[in-house]
Amino acid sequence: MLDVLMLSRIQFAANISFHILFPTITIALGWLLFYFKVRFDLSGHPVWMRAYRFWVKVFALTFALGVVSGITMSFQFGTNWPGFMETIGNIAGPLLAYEILTAFFLEATLLGVMLFGFNRVPAWAHTLSTFLVAFGTTMSAFWILVLNSWMQTPAGFEMRDGVAHATDWLAIIFNPSFPYRFSHTLLSSALTVCFVVAGISAYRLWRGDKKRAPRVTLKTAILSAALLAPLQAFVGDLHGLNTLEHQPQKVAAMEGVWETQKGADLLLFAIPDEETRENKFAIAIPNFASLILTHEWDGEIKGLNDFEGAHPPVKPVFYGFRIMVGIGLLMIMVAWWCSWSMRGGRSLSKLQLKVLMGMTFSGWIATLAGWYVTEIGRQPYLVSGVLKTADAVTTIASENVLLTLIVYLIVYAVLLVAYIRTLFLMARRAVELEDIQPHERVTQKGFNPSLNQQEAHA
């Protein structure tokens, strides 16, 4: 039977993996909705309102899943990882408190106004609420990534009697890996949303939706992805360089480098074997790992054997990294291909719609894969160099952890299926339904009812 350490790790990983799916969507979708709303305010064109109304429903559902799965986290810190707060509570505490105070309340409170307040508050207040909800989700990402980055690259603290005490809050917040991780994560949220929006919009067109809204949202998503996906590759590279500087053992695992070497090969595929400490079936490009990581043909990369006993498990980090990068490259190609086909107002082919539909949740897989790379890559430490994961774990009976783990997994599986089904159901419904009702009393400033008449199929 698995011990309480492994069970707690699996449980925490399950909870946070499920949770992260939803904020990953709401962070960027909030800003996209703000964009739709501003376009509507400026033009009064109903197509933007239709885009807003369809996607705000998706936002509502996603946000709800994010809130409820997030509450679990605030319990798990203490129940499963008491050593975490006992050791670094003085650092983690204020960061979590600031997240709750500056982000959670803002987004949760104004969400009601954003969802249901269109005709209850003035137009500017509704737009402002949309802005503040988006801002709140981003603030939330800011604080939690400060904490996560600090766990990877701790700074601005001193240990007194085995307990971390803050000495410099600016150094804690802007710790070495934070700027890279924050931009990398925000961009991954943006790309996830681009492909969700593109996929669902493509599905609506596939089902014969003649309205203009899905075409407009599809175009917005594809063009954004075409710009952001290459930017992500660039930021990801910077993040990798930063990791090489601060956590070389993680990079060694990502690249599958066992012996410290100059001019390390880039492994496209391999099966790393931790028993024999070598790679099997390697397909490699000579010297490219050194070139990418050190920007020199013969740059030196430290190997895993230099960190024996203190490096992460190699396989999940190695494969996770390849899945993430593979999806990233696929995103660039698909986004550029579709952008090219859409030039001058042309439509996408059936094949392209199908590809986009297939890639609807590709951002989720890339995000999770990248997340596993960085989190498993930090093992055996919970806080790099400060606290080992095994030293923070709970004393709860392992049967109880197993029992709750099973319950969580069942609930999560049901909810995930329901979420995806509902998203596609909403899309099918949107093909038939008209988002703006004829009897509707539209009070928003700048709304032009005659446009609504002209563009019955906007």
Partner: protein, 336 residues
């Protein structure tokens, strides 16, 4: 004043008060929306829609108070957080599952096919009951000192029923305030029933708590604090008496006084909470750990207090704005 707040020895007290306020606000706010879930009428679809519409714009923010309360326990008194929640691991998990179910059901019900809507409504009701029962159970175990014995488990189960009834009471009061017509009439009936049961429950706790916890007994009977503490049940029970009279007369023309039951139930909640809090202070884990034993380092508490003093007025500000935007009787929930 500011100096007093930020002095090393006072910081644990300040954070204990903040945490207590967060728990109380949570119990009132999420209490009413859990209560609406508990009471959700399964026999009348339009009434279900109205009941849910009355809490629609608010429930997300209400649950955030739980995150704040647990968050404050975690960040200000970390040792107590793990001590308490490890002892309550299973009921806490059950509560979380309940909260997850009801939270998502709320959104799914409006978006799935009509044939599946009923299923999510049931999940909403079941999730609300599970969460309330677990919270009451946890409260009961806490009062009994977090030891699992037959006596404490029985007490905790009763406490679960008590808290569920209390949430039903505040939920019914909320429906009286936010709805009209048949649903309001039903809510008045529910409030009467839940009020009577809550009254008996609170009366029992008033006797049992001092009996099983000698230190509580002592505190309740030692002047001058004892007089003050004894005034609390007095106020509480007079609210019940007046509330019953109000409920007998409602509804009045032009919806006059529809807000009264909610206001009075809120006072009852405040009384019950104050009574418990004053019984246990300064212990955060009953009879084991005080807030002073478990507080985080002063410099960390200080930086959180700075943030709280700036941000809490803003939170109150936009919360008032949201409630103002959705004032009056609940209307159908539209995304426009």
């Amino acid at each position: 004043m500011i100096d007093w707040l930020f002095a090393d020895q006072n910081l644990p007290v300040v954070f204990a008060v903040l945490m207590a306020v967060a728990i109380l606000v949570y119990a009132i706010l999420d209490g009413y929306d859990l209560g609406v879930g508990i009471l959700l009428p399964m026999d009348a679809a339009p009434q279900r829609d109205t009941a849910i519409a009355s809490i629609g714009p608010f429930w997300d923010a209400n649950e955030t108070w739980l995150v704040l309360a647990i968050g404050l326990l975690l960040v200000a008194f970390p040792a107590a957080h793990s001590e308490i929640l490890r002892a309550l691991y299973l009921p806490a998990t059950l509560m979380l599952i309940g909260l997850i179910l009801r939270g998502v059901a709320f959104d799914f019900r409006a978006k799935v096919a009509v044939t599946e809507k009923h299923r999510w409504d049931r999940a909403f009701k079941a999730g609300s009951i599970i969460s309330s029962m677990s919270q009451g159970f946890m409260l009961g175990m806490y009062v009994m000192g977090l030891e699992y014995t037959w006596l404490s488990i029985s007490f905790a189960l009763l406490s679960g029923i008590g808290v569920t009834t209390a949430y039903a009471l505040i939920g019914a009061s909320w429906l009286i305030m936010k709805t009209d017509g048949d649903l309001q009439l039903r809510a008045i009936k529910w409030a009467k029933k839940a009020g009577v049961i809550s009254f008996v429950g609170i009366l029992l706790v008033c006797f049992i708590n001092p009996l099983i916890n000698p230190f509580v007994f002592e505190r309740w009977l030692t002047p001058p604090l004892g007089y003050f503490i004894n005034a609390i049940p007095l106020l509480c029970f007079s609210m019940f008496a007046m509330g019953y009279q109000v409920l007998k007369r409602l509804p009045l023309a032009d919806h006059q006084g529809d807000w009264l039951p909610f206001a009075m139930t809120t006072i009852v909640f405040i009384c019950c909470f104050a009574g418990l809090a004053l019984s246990f202070y300064p212990y955060v884990v009953p009879q084991q750990l005080t807030i002073f034993d478990t507080a985080s380092a002063p410099e960390s508490l200080r930086i959180m207090l700075v943030g709280s003093l700036f941000v809490l007025p803003m939170i109150i500000g936009y919360t008032v704005f949201a409630y103002f935007a959705f004032r009056g009787k609940a209307q159908a929930l539209n995304y426009y």
